[in-house]
Symmetry: C2
Subunit: 434 residues, 2 copies
C-alpha cells in the first residue's frame, strides 16, 4: 500500500463522477491531466490505477490565507476580547516559538489540509525556511511569506528587509516547483509606507507575489483615514502594493471604491469568513461589490488560533452562508461560486494553474466519498460539496499527479500528530516558565 | 465485531479523557452510568470493554429541531429566493412523499446523526409512524411530532387533530422508552388560534411536549402584529403553547419582551444558526437576552433542505460564531456554553436526562478521536470540540449504554445509503412526471 505514495509514473482514475457524469481521468508522468473521458484509457499506459467508483472528483482546494504553524496554538485561547487575546495569550506564546515549532506546526497543518482536500496554501509567518521543509516533505504546494512588520521603526525595517531577502533567496535556491516565495507586508497598520514601498519594489524585482492583510477591522479604516486621509485599499495602492500578484486577506471593511480599486489593479481578495465571525469584525467582505468590479475573490481559513480549523470544505459553507446572512440575500454566493472561489480563484491568486479538471492542467485532484451520508442523495455535487460535506468526506488527494492521501491514509500521520502535540506542550511550558 | 452492536450487558470505557483528566466510565446493564473514576472497574463486571485510549468522551449530542426525512431533499434546490424555493421546489417534491420515503429518509438521517455524535433528536414531519420505525431500528432517541398545519380551515384542522391523536396513540402503543410523541403546531402563521389552543390542551392532557417554529422571519412578526396586535411569542403564549415542555425553533426575531416571556414560561429556544444564515433571515437569535431571562437555549440543525447537514459538532461552531458576528461580541457564546447548548440544554428540552457524564445519568456517550488533527494539540477539549472538530472525529457512540457506532462502523450503513439514494431518485422521478 505504501507503493502508491512513493511510486512515480502515470495514473488513471477510473470511472469517477465529475459533476453529472462518470469519466476516466488520465494523468501523465509529469503530473498533468493528459485526457478526460473515453480516450483517457488509451492516452496513457497507467502505472497506477485508482478506482473512482463511488467517488466524486473535484479540483484540489487552495487556501489563500493561513499562518500554518499556528496549529500549535489551536484552542490555546478563544472567546476573549481581541486585544486581551493577542497581548495576554497569542503574542506571549509566539515569543517562544522556535524554528522547530514552525516545522512541526506546519507539518500538522499540511496533514490537516491534505486530509480535507487542500493542495496549495498561501502562508505568512516566521521561520519560514522550516515551513518550507515541512511543505517539501508533505508534497503539497505553498507560497511562503515572511511576516514583515516594521511598526515604523527604521532599524526593525532593515531587519525585516534582510529576513525577506533571505527567505526569497532560500526558496529560490531550493528549486522546488511546488514552493514559491512571496513578500509578506503584514498590514498597513504594522508596516510603514516606506516598508510597503520596499515590499512592492522587491516583489516586482523578484517576480513574486505580495501577501497582506487588508481592511479587517473598522478601526483599521478609521485609523488609516485619520492618519493618511485615505482608506486602507487606497493607501496600500499608493504604496504600490495592490498588484495582479497581491493577495489581500479579509477585506471586510472595503467600501465600493476600494472594491473597484482591487478590481482595477487585478488584485485578489481572500475571504476568511470563519475568522471574521470568530473575531467579530462586525462586517462581512462585500463579495457583491468585488465581483461586480471584477476582483478575483478566493478563500482562506486564516490561522488556527482564529478559526480553529484548516478545512476548506467547511470554509466554503461558512462563506456561502455568511454572505447570505450578512448581506441579506438568499441567492448571494451560490454553491457553484463557492466551489470556484476555493479552486479556480485560489489557483489564479497563487498562480498554480487553472484550478479545474481540464486537459493540460496540473493533476491537483480530490476524490470525495460519494457514498458518505453527506453525499446521499447526490442531486447536485456542488451543493453537497459546499453545504453538506466537510473534510471528513475526502478520500484521496493528488497534487501534480502525486498521491498524498489515499482512502484517508497519509504516510507518517501518527508521527506528525505525536511530534506536533509534543511541540505544542513544550511551547506552552516554556511560555509559562518565562 | 458485530457482537458489540447486538450484545447487551454492562460496559466499561477504559482510560478515556474527560475534560482535563483520564478516567474509566462504568455503565450498568440498564444503560445508566454506574461509576466514573477509580471505582469504575470495581462497580461492574463488564461484559464489554471499550478502550478509551486516545479518545475524548463528551455527552451525546441532542438535536432539538429537525425534519429528519428531508435528507432525501439534500441538495435538490438551494440558493433561491425563499418563496420560489418553497413553491417551485420543496413543496412539489413533498407532495409526492410516501411513508416509505419518510422511513428511508429518517434512517439516513439517523445514520448521519449517529456518525456525528447525536443520540437524540426532536423531529417534526409527516408519516411519523414510519419515522418511528426508523428510530426504533437505529437505536437513538427521538421526540416525534406530526406537523400540524390548518391554515385557518376548520375541516383541515379536524384532519390534523386526528393525525396528531393517531401518532400520539401509535407512539404510546409502541412502548419504546427511546421514542416519545409531541404535538407539532407548525407555527403561528400556519395554525389558527383554535388549532394552537387544541394543541396546547392535547399536549397537557397527554403529558407530552410541543414542537413549533417561532419568530423565524421579520415578516412573521410584522404579519402577527398586524393581525393580532401582538408579537409572535405573546400570541403563542395567549394560545397556551408556551410551556415548560415547548421547544420553539429559530426565535431569531424575538424582542427582549419575547425572550423574557420564554424565560418566565420555562420554554426552550432551539437555535438553528446554519439554517438562519442559509435562508438569510437577517437576524440571529438574541442569545444574550434569552440567557439573561433564564430561557433554556438548545441547538438544532433544522431539516436537510435548509442546512444541508445534520452534524451538531458543525452546528456548535456555527452557533458560537454567528452569535459573535451578529451581536458584535468576541466573548458571546464561548465554547463551553456551545457544548452545554448541544448537550445539557438539549437533554433538558427533550426530557432525556441531565445531558452530562455523571453517575446515574443515561449512558449517552460520544467518544471523539483525540489523535485526529482537529484534536491536536489538545489544549482545551471544549474549544477543539466546538471550533476545530466536526462529525468526522466521532469514533464511538453509545445511547442508553448500547453501542450504535464503534470505530466509525454503524451496522447496516451501506444498505441505508443505497435505499435512501434510491428513494430520493424515485421521488424526484415521480415529481417530474407529474
Amino acid at each position: 500500500m505504501n507503493d502508491i505514495f512513493t511510486a512515480r509514473g502515470s495514473v488513471l482514475i477510473a470511472g469517477v463522477r465529475i459533476g453529472g457524469s462518470i469519466a476516466d481521468i488520465a494523468i501523465d508522468e509529469a503530473g498533468a491531466i493528459a485526457e478526460i473521458g473515453e480516450a483517457a484509457r488509451k492516452a496513457i499506459d497507467a502505472d497506477i490505477i485508482i478506482d473512482g467508483t463511488d467517488r466524486v472528483a473535484i479540483p484540489g482546494l487552495v487556501n489563500t490565507h493561513t499562518h500554518a504553524a499556528m496549529t500549535l496554538l489551536r484552542g490555546y485561547a478563544d472567546d476573549m476580547p481581541l486585544q486581551e487575546w493577542l497581548s495576554d495569550k497569542i503574542w506571549p506564546l509566539e515569543a517562544h516559538l522556535s524554528g522547530d515549532d514552525v516545522y512541526y506546526g506546519t507539518k500538522l497543518a499540511c496533514l490537516e489540509m491534505i486530509r480535507s482536500g487542500t493542495i496549495a496554501f498561501n502562508d505568512m509567518y516566521f521561520f519560514m525556511e522550516r515551513a518550507a521543509d515541512a511543505v517539501d516533505e508533505m508534497g503539497l504546494r505553498a507560497v511562503l511569506a515572511y511576516g514583515f512588520i516594521d511598526l515604523g521603526n527604521e532599524e526593525k525595517r532593515e531587519a525585516e528587509i534582510r529576513a525577506t531577502e533571505a527567505l526569497t533567496a532560500h526558496v529560490k535556491a531550493r528549486g522546488n516547483p511546488r514552493i514559491q516565495a512571496a513578500v509578506g507586508p503584514h498590514s498597513i497598520y504594522t508596516v510603514s509606507p516606506e516598508g510597503l514601498r520596499w515590499c512592492a519594489g522587491f516583489a516586482e524585482e523578484q517576480g513574486i507575489g505580495i501577501h497582506t492583510h487588508l481592511a479587517e477591522t473598522e478601526r483599521e479604516v478609521t485609523d488609516c483615514v485619520a492618519g493618511s486621509g485615505r482608506r486602507p485599499a487606497a493607501h496600500l495602492d499608493d504604496c504600490g502594493c495592490l498588484t495582479p500578484r497581491t493577495v489581500a486577506a479579509h477585506c471586510c471593511w472595503l467600501d465600493e471604491a476600494g472594491c473597484r480599486l482591487l478590481g482595477e489593479r487585478g488584485a485578489h481578495a481572500s475571504h476568511n469568513p470563519t475568522s471574521n465571525m470568530k473575531l467579530a469584525v462586525n462586517r462581512a467582505m462585500p463579495y457583491h461589490w468585488l465581483r461586480e468590479h471584477g476582483a478575483n475573490v478566493c478563500l482562506g481559513t486564516d490561522g488556527c488560533a482564529s478559526n480553529n480549523s484548516l478545512d476548506l470544505l467547511e470554509e466554503m459553507k461558512f462563506a456561502a452562508l455568511l454572505q447570505k446572512f450578512a448581506w441579506n440575500s438568499q441567492t448571494l454566493l451560490p454553491a457553484n461560486e463557492a466551489v470556484a472561489m476555493a479552486t479556480i480563484a485560489g489557483a489564479r491568486a497563487l498562480g498554480t494553474g487553472p484550478g479545474t479538471l481540464t486537459v493540460g492542467a496540473p493533476a491537483d485532484v480530490v476524490l470525495l466519498d460519494a457514498r458518505a451520508a453527506c453525499n446521499t442523495p447526490l442531486h447536485n455535487t456542488d451543493s453537497n460539496t459546499v453545504y453538506a460535506c466537510n473534510g471528513g468526506s475526502v478520500m484521496t488527494v493528488l497534487c501534480q499527479g502525486r498521491i498524498l492521501m489515499h482512502e484517508r491514509e497519509v504516510p507518517g500521520e501518527e508521527e506528525i500528530i505525536r511530534e506536533a502535540a509534543a511541540a505544542a506542550q513544550a511551547l506552552v511550558g516554556r511560555a509559562h516558565e518565562a
